[in-house]
């Protein structure tokens, strides 16, 4: 499946690309619809993002007591485990980590194939705890909504917060993240791919992929992986982030 990827198309990124590690990871399952454009975060960047989010979570909640990190399949549990490890390194406390599958709570059942991606296992009762939902990419907000429903059936948390590695905009629901690794304005047709050694078997990183055969008229999504000040707008569907 990986062999079908047309590697030659990655000449497409425009001149402003600041890609340091131009090693697109062949990705199964998209039928060659996407081509690699740029690496947005390196493994070191990701590690720093995990560490910062860990600090923010502990700071916001006045310490790690009563916290539980719940990762959404498929990559959430691995990210949650890294954040928990970071917290353990400076607070000397093991924050419980769980996993949650939201397939049965999605609102697009029947519109596309939906399959559970892993077990739901939360080692503690979520009731009266602060639950931090952890996922890789926040886009429409529909996965987060499904996660809220799934969580509600497991108990009544004191509060629920959301941590994501990438917020790429295009929200379709009134949901925002409390902790964000990187705000990444993207075109609607683009694809953000998070790679983790635990789940993908390749070096950690976050990559931006674009539609194959597209010359990128919406080039302002390609301002490169530099820091972005404000969060992407909720301008779903119009193709890109627009002026900000």
């Amino acid at each position: 499946m990986a062999g079908s990827r047309p590697g030659g198309r990655r000449g497409a990124p425009p001149e402003s690309s600041t890609t340091q590690v131009p090693t697109p990871t062949p990705d199964p399952g998209d039928g060659g619809r996407f081509v690699f454009r740029t690496r947005v975060l390196s493994a070191a960047d990701l590690r720093r993002a995990h560490t910062r989010i860990a600090h923010e979570i502990v700071e916001r909640n006045h310490g790690p007591a009563g916290l539980v990190l719940v990762g959404l399949h498929t990559r959430g549990p691995a990210i949650a485990a890294r954040i928990a490890a970071a917290i353990a390194s400076f607070e000397d406390v093991e924050v419980p980590v769980g996993s949650l599958d939201v397939a049965f709570y999605r609102d697009d059942i029947g519109r596309r194939p939906v399959a559970p991606a892993g077990p739901t296992e939360i080692p503690v009762d979520v009731t009266d705890r602060v639950v931090v939902i952890v996922d890789d990419v926040l886009q429409t907000g529909r996965t987060a909504r499904a996660a809220l429903d799934a969580l509600t059936e497991l108990g009544r948390p004191r509060a629920v917060q959301l941590a994501v590695l990438v917020d790429r905009g295009h929200r379709e629901l009134p949901i925002r993240a409390d902790y964000v690794g990187k705000n990444l304005p993207t075109g609607y047709a683009e694809d953000v791919r998070v790679r983790l050694t635990d789940t993908d078997g390749v070096e950690d990183g976050i990559e931006l992929w674009g539609p194959a055969g597209d010359d990128y008229a919406d080039a302002d999504a390609d301002d490169g992986p530099g820091p972005v000040g404000d969060p992407p707008g909720g301008d779903a569907g119009d193709g890109n982030g627009g002026p900000r």
Partner: protein, 310 residues
């Protein structure tokens, strides 16, 4: 997958997928609120032309735990009593707007016939002596939960009224799909007239297999299908093919004992064995709800296209 009419509808990958889904649903059924909103708004009809306790309740429980609406059709109090045909009955029900029909019928092929008449998904919950695919799915799931996912080479004996048993037919196919070695054990009169097309062997001698099987699956003597005409007396059947306390003691350690229910206690299985530590009978019923959730989910949750959603 639009229907589940026979184990023949499944290949190894589909069977594995259903078992993996069932594991997810086992986790759901273990929760304080064992219910998910997955099939909200879907309508599942249970259409049982034969008596049933566990299969009907199991399917209805499964549908309700997926938040589907359930219509129960009781043949005894329906227009079937006035002579309405199966075709008219199903078309009437379908006209009310349904998504799935779970059907049990005394005639082999009834579920296949229904699938040609309605747009809804049809699940065969037993058609005559033909097939009972969800029973085979739950039996193999139960075995895999005890013996690990790879059961190729596992030795399974299916004992008793094979000829009248749709469970045996489906179980043999499902076990063969997973690579298990199946032996049928029954008197000649209770074996199928020909084993052509059955991926298994057969013997008349229960004693000879007792010591070297990993799983012993017992079948109910189907008294409603006149199975008793096939041997001199129930007592004689029990003496030669029943799992008595004495025989159970000679099973290899770790041998699993299964029965699809309902049991004729004291005929094909001694009560002490049915309630004993080797018996997985209650667990089979428990797993049955999860496997039926998996089947209904697989049939009714499908969408077309492969959109990507982050």
């Amino acid at each position: 997958m639009n229907h589940l009419l026979s184990i023949d509808d499944l290949d190894r990958a589909a069977l594995d997928e259903l078992h993996a889904l069932a594991e997810s649903f086992l986790e759901v059924t273990g929760r304080e609120i064992p219910k998910v909103p997955a099939l909200r708004g879907k309508v599942v009809v249970s259409l049982f032309y034969e008596d049933s306790t566990r299969t009907r309740l199991s399917f209805e429980t499964a549908a309700k735990r997926l938040s589907a609406d359930v219509m129960t059709f009781a043949v005894g109090s329906s227009s079937v009593k006035k002579g309405e045909s199966l075709r008219d009955t199903i078309q009437t029900i379908a006209a009310m707007g349904i998504d799935a029909v779970v059907v049990r019928h005394p005639s082999a092929g009834a579920a296949h016939q229904l699938a040609r008449w309605v747009d809804a998904s049809v699940v065969n919950a037993g058609d005559g002596r033909h097939e009972h695919p969800t029973q085979a799915l739950l039996d193999t799931l139960t075995i895999r939960r005890h013996r690990g996912p790879a059961i190729d080479g596992l030795r399974v004996a299916i004992v008793g009224d094979v000829r009248n048993s749709r469970v045996a037919r489906s179980d043999v196919k499902a076990l063969a799909l997973l690579g298990a070695e199946v032996t049928l054990v029954a008197p000649d009169t209770l074996l199928p007239p020909s084993l052509a097309g059955w991926p298994c062997t057969a013997t008349h001698d229960l004693e000879s297999v007792l010591g070297d099987v990993d799983v012993l699956m017992l079948l109910r003597i189907q008294r409603e299908r006149a199975a008793e005409a096939s041997f001199p007396s129930l007592r004689e059947f029990t003496a030669r093919w029943g799992l008595t306390v004495d025989r159970a003691a000679r099973l290899a350690p770790g041998t699993l004992v299964m029965h699809p229910g309902p049991m004729n206690r004291g005929v094909e299985i001694a009560p002490e064995v049915a309630d004993g530590p080797r018996s997985l009978i209650a667990e089979q019923v428990h797993n049955g709800v999860a496997i039926r959730m998996a089947v209904l989910w697989k049939l009714l949750s499908g969408g077309s296209g492969g959109g990507m959603v982050a």
